[in-house]
Amino acid sequence: MTAVASTVTVRVLLFASYAELLGSDALELVLESPARVSDALARLRAFPGGERLPAKPLCALNLTQVEPDTLLGSGDELAILPPLSGG
């Protein structure tokens, strides 16, 4: 067995109403490995304003929609997307 990194660092992007909720549009999270999308969301909920994020927000990992149980890797870009309203 090779040694497993003990932490995972991901870049989190917040948009539109969620950026307003958390007062930021980008931040970095350092999570214990293994970490899933749901772990990142739990950490975000601890930030001021983060408690108002919905239970299951739409998430994208490296530009593709993912479910909350998706594993995160170091250097991943995790975007938390409010309800889409293009068009």
């Binding site: 919905p54 994208a60 997307l81 889409l84 293009g86 068009g87």
Partner: protein, 151 residues
């Protein structure tokens, strides 16, 4: 590039797809209107997750082009838009009209459902609201929608 902050030019999109083999060309324009739920709208502000929006628009265009044997031109504008401005434009060209209409319809519906773009309504009375941010709920495909956002 599918996103632009410039005014959308329908003529340029038509020129992009016109070709002697295409006998049916359908287009759709989503235009900023002056009212929403009985309230007067002053303007809209669009923002996007640019890199994912570009990728998702590309996926949608490729899906339509492979399903209906057509070519698609698509542009979505971001930034501040005034009443009457074109927010999104789609042109679908095919040998016959059925494919062109179907592909055009598919692209606008998928853009609204899948592309990470958000709009904020600025009402005449001074209030400001993110569209869909109110009672957000999860739909089957993982796409979140609040109040239905009509083009």
């Amino acid at each position: 590039m599918y996103l632009t902050t410039d005014e959308i030019n329908l003529g340029a999109l038509l020129a992009q797809v016109q070709s002697p083999q295409y006998g049916g060309i359908a287009s759709f324009l989503g235009v900023v209107r002056d009212h929403q739920d009985g309230r007067s709208v002053l303007r809209l502000e669009y923002s996007a997750y640019d890199s994912m929006a570009e990728a998702e628009c590309g996926r949608i265009v490729r899906e339509a082009e492979s399903q209906w044997d057509c070519v698609i031109a698509l542009k979505h504008r971001t930034g501040t838009l005034q009443i009457g401005d074109v927010a999104v434009a789609i042109v679908a060209a095919s040998a016959h009209r059925d494919e062109a209409f179907a592909a055009c319809r598919y692209v606008i519906e998928e853009v609204k459902r899948r592309v990470p773009i958000w709009k904020r309504e600025i009402f005449v009375d001074g209030t400001v609201e993110w569209v869909g941010a109110g009672a957000g709920k999860q739909l089957g495909s993982g796409v979140v929608a609040g109040r239905r956002a009509e083009s």
